[in-house]
């Protein structure tokens, strides 16, 4: 659109449902120093009403319309979405346009104070009072350099959350919540001409922003250059190891072999780690692997293994390392790659059944790469991955010079030696 809003429409009339999905290209990576957690706190404020929408009315109007809704904040983006009966499309667009164009009149100190309390409780609930909960901020902190935008906590420190002011809300809104920094996707049961008309009607008058400060250079060396280690004593019963590898940024040609490698290692029961550590050697109670899917600079591939009772933390780290070393030494078999791609494909097709998922992927590819159509290439890009490519990735990225381990140990029996090693690593 002339004001810079990127709009994607995807029709499907199988059910009278339509999904509206907005991605703002701002996440925790954009937070200024001293304001960790602000992008997420701000997401909460977007549900507190706007010029024509009362506090709590956003949820109320969507649910009264028979819709589902939410929002989420990630390192690189914040999204807002609702799936509604198709006859309520205009309401969803009106609500999103009203808060994109006319949020500030509704912002008050009291709303900010309440949402700050809510977010602090979210932090306690998801991290501080949850076994292993701190991994969400410790792992990026361990894997990205101090000054890198992915280093700091998405949830934010209590101190920074306390410092956030109404002025910050105004600044952040003016800088990032503008049509030219957003992508709007509509998927499901609608008439395209009508949808275009509605989008123009509601979003057209919202003025373009004045630009946002550029992110610093986010590029990173392909490997950590060392084996980083941190030991975390926690209120837990069983040790658990997050072992991360720096990997190619989401969406690059090199990303797909990395993603397949992650699936070979830890996607579902037939994966390497589950087969070897859980089923065969029985040293783990659970094992999985995932990628962060970061599109800027570098991504992370993470394996996540919890021990069986009776196995010590040191042995856990050795067992996982042994398995990874074996992959590096002997390589991955074609059958493992085939299994991984087959499971990825089914999961992808499964996800595409939901209008909300389709709209979200369209927004993602449009936000990161300016091309929502890339979603149609996903299956082909995965299917084109060869065993050789996966093994190339293994050689380049799974070696000892590219590992970061975050090892959780029960607080009561944290051995002095391990705790000491952790302190040393942190001091580096």
């Amino acid at each position: 659109m002339p004001n810079g809003l990127f709009v994607t429409l995807s029709e499907d009339h199988t059910a009278p449902i339509v999904a509206v999905n907005l991605w703002y290209h701002v996440g925790s990576a954009n937070e200024p120093a001293g304001r960790t957690g602000f992008a997420h706190l701000f997401e909460h404020m977007l549900f507190q009403g706007s010029a024509d929408v009362g506090s709590n009315e956003h949820f109320e109007l969507v649910q009264r319309a028979g819709g589902t809704l939410n929002g989420s904040t990630w390192l690189e983006r914040t999204n807002y979405f609702e799936t509604v009966p198709s006859n309520q499309l205009e309401l969803a667009l009106w609500l999103e346009a009203n808060r994109m164009g006319y949020l500030l009149p509704a912002m008050t100190q009291q709303k900010l104070d309440t949402q700050r309390d809510v977010v602090m409780n979210e932090r306690r609930w998801s991290m501080d009072n949850q076994p292993y909960g701190s991994w969400m901020e410790k792992l990026p902190a361990l894997c990205f350099p101090d000054e890198h935008p992915f280093h700091h906590s998405l949830m934010g420190s209590m101190e920074d959350l306390t410092a956030a002011s109404l002025d910050d809300v105004k600044q952040f809104f003016a800088t990032y919540y503008t049509p030219d920094n957003a992508v709007l996707s509509i998927a499901g049961d609608f008439d395209p001409a009508e949808a275009r008309r509605l989008v123009e009607r509601h979003f057209g008058p919202i003025p373009r922003g004045r630009g946002k400060p550029p992110l610093p250079d986010m590029s990173l060396a392909p490997t950590f250059g060392q084996w980083r280690r941190e030991v975390v004593p926690d209120e837990i019963m069983l040790p658990r190891l997050f072992l991360a590898f720096r990997s190619p940024a989401f969406g690059t040609p090199e990303y797909y072999p990395a993603s397949v490698c992650g699936a070979v290692l830890g996607l579902r029961n037939g994966s390497r780690l589950r087969r070897e550590l859980v089923r065969e050697r029985q040293v783990a109670a659970d094992a999985s692997a995932f990628t962060y899917d970061l599109a800027k600079g570098a991504d992370l591939l993470v394996t996540d293994v919890t021990v069986r009772p009776g196995i010590a933390a040191e042995q856990l780290e050795q067992e996982v390392a042994y398995e990874i070393d074996r992959v590096v030494r002997d390589g991955i078999e074609p059958a493992e790659v085939e299994r991984a791609i087959a499971v990825i494909q089914t999961s992808f097709v499964s996800a595409m059944q939901e209008a909300g998922e389709r709209a979200d992927r369209l927004s993602m590819f449009a936000t990161y790469f300016g091309d929502p159509g890339l979603v149609n290439d996903e299956v082909d890009r995965y299917r084109a991955v060869t065993t050789d490519q996966v093994n190339e990735f293994v050689q380049e990225r799974l070696g000892e010079n590219n590992r970061a381990s975050l090892l959780y140990v029960p607080r009561d029996d944290a051995p002095g030696e391990l705790a000491g090693a952790g302190a040393a690593a942190e001091a580096e």
Binding site: A51, N56, P85, E90, N121, I236, V278, T346, S350
Partner: protein, 460 residues
């Protein structure tokens, strides 16, 4: 329509609503008693196949609680033809994602696969159902994984609160008083022979329903079921009914000590009512208003007015017999008593005065309007059909669902709240810092607090 204060356009009115009906489905029966339900849904080339067996946790033998879940999990750990690793490999080479579990009322083995691979994958699935091996090594491993889960629970406030809430709710004679997956003592004494015996007496054709939803037609689906399960011999087991009586008269508060916890995990509730109770619809709408929706009374009060929590919800756990009714939240330690008081006030309030018309219409228009969104995927359609099977609901249940929701009145909600919320029987469970939360909790009319450790053992 409201006038726009901002110069933005006024709030739009909805267009006319397009019809929607729950996917048509057909029921067939094989000669051996296996029932087949097929819902053809041709959106994407995908099929979800679910095998439902009347072998839920309520069927566990006394003293060997956890048997049903171990059996369900072991179904995927090897057949007479294939070891566990090979079986998994065969499913996943077809891209089939498969899970097996047992809840209170049934065991379910659920698989989603691309339609082109359904015949091969379903053949394996049938093999899983008919020839599980229960190899000793896998039995020991799956038992050990349950023990690990139980150990983890001790440090996990949410799961711990849920688990102990059930224990304090029901009479010790009730299966519901013990964890769905069994506890250390019961899992420890389960041997391979017990699992085999459970399988042989519960996993029978007359207790099995095959649900297929997705890109498949009923005739082909039935052929597939007949070819793979038609010669499976066996009868029909008797239906097991769990004791669902409460464990005590009157209110009580139970604190599970977690020293220095920054938050208290709070559960407040009592024994609810069975799924097939005639008041299901009014109770459901009542709960939506009380604590089911984001804009429910409890969530708005605790989260948006007081900022006490990230979220607070109420819910009835629907089972064949009466499952728990619980209000669940996590609140900052120092306001635990105040938060609990707000919950008690809300429970009293919905029993005293009729809900406002706009509260009622919010709940009913949400439940009515969201209906099509609940059935976008083959797995959600299969799950909805499973509910018909578990609770023997009529075939037109989903076709009539929306009109029944819309028909609920404020008087019915008041009556539902008065009949089915029992302030005098509330049990309160708090996982948190006992020293910090006890004084305020003891002012709520629940008597002296009972204190326990993370295993549920009373502490002096």
């Amino acid at each position: 329509m409201t006038t726009a204060a901002s110069g933005a356009l006024p709030r739009p009115a909805p267009a006319s609503r397009r019809d929607f009906h729950f996917p048509r489905f057909e029921r067939r029966q094989l000669a051996n008693g296996v029932e087949v339900i097929v819902a053809p849904v041709r959106k994407l080339p995908l099929v979800t196949a679910a095998l439902l067996i009347d072998a839920g946790a309520v069927c566990d033998p006394v003293g060997r609680e956890g048997t049903a879940q171990l059996v369900a999990k072991l179904m995927l750990e090897g057949t007479s033809a294939f070891g566990g690793a090979e079986l998994t490999e065969r499913f996943e080479q077809l891209g089939a994602t498969i899970d097996a579990q047992a809840d209170w009322d049934a065991a379910a083995i659920t698989m989603t696969v691309l339609a082109e691979h359904l015949p091969a994958a379903f053949e394996l699935l049938a093999q899983v159902l008919r020839t599980p091996a229960f190899r000793p090594r896998e039995v020991e491993r799956i038992k050990a994984e349950r023990v690990a889960e139980l150990l983890q629970l001790r440090a996990e406030p949410r799961g711990l609160a849920d688990e102990l809430f059930s224990r304090f709710l029901y009479t010790p004679a009730s299966r519901y008083a013990r964890p769905e997956g069994g506890d250390e003592a019961s899992v420890d004494v389960i041997e391979r022979e017990h699992l085999l015996a459970f399988y042989e007496t519960r996993y029978l054709p007359g207790a099995t329903t095959v649900v297929l939803a997705g890109d498949i037609d009923p005739d082909r689906a039935t052929d597939l079921a007949r070819r793979t399960l038609g010669d499976w011999a066996g009868g029909t087991p008797e239906r097991i009914v769990s004791d669902d009586r409460p464990g005590r008269d009157g209110r009580a508060v139970h604190i599970i000590e977690k020293a220095d916890a920054p938050q208290s995990e709070l559960r407040i509730g009592h024994v609810g009512l069975p799924r097939n109770h005639p008041d299901f619809f009014p109770v459901n709408v009542m709960n939506a208003i009380l604590g089911g929706l984001f804009n429910s009374r409890i969530n708005l009060n605790l989260r948006e007015v007081h900022g006490y929590t990230y979220g607070a919800f109420s819910g009835f756990s629907w089972r064949r017999q009466a499952g728990p009714f619980a209000v669940s939240t996590a609140v900052k330690s120092d306001i635990t008593g105040a938060a609990a008081q707000e919950i008690l006030t809300e429970i009293d309030r919905i029993r005293t005065t009729a809900v406002a018309p706009e509260e009622l219409s919010l709940a009913t228009s949400y439940l009515d309007g969201v209906f099509p969104i609940r059935f976008e995927t083959t797995s959600s359609i299969a799950a909805a059909l499973s509910v018909l099977v578990f609770y023997q609901l009529p075939d037109d249940y989903y076709d009539r669902y929306r009109e029944r929701i819309r028909a609920i009145t404020a008087e019915q909600i008041l009556a539902a709240a008065q009949h089915h919320l029992h302030p005098d029987a509330l049990q309160m469970v708090v996982v948190g810092d006992a020293a910090a939360v006890r004084p305020s909790l003891e002012t709520l009319g629940f008597g002296r607090a009972n204190i326990y450790d993370a295993t549920g053992r009373p502490v002096a």
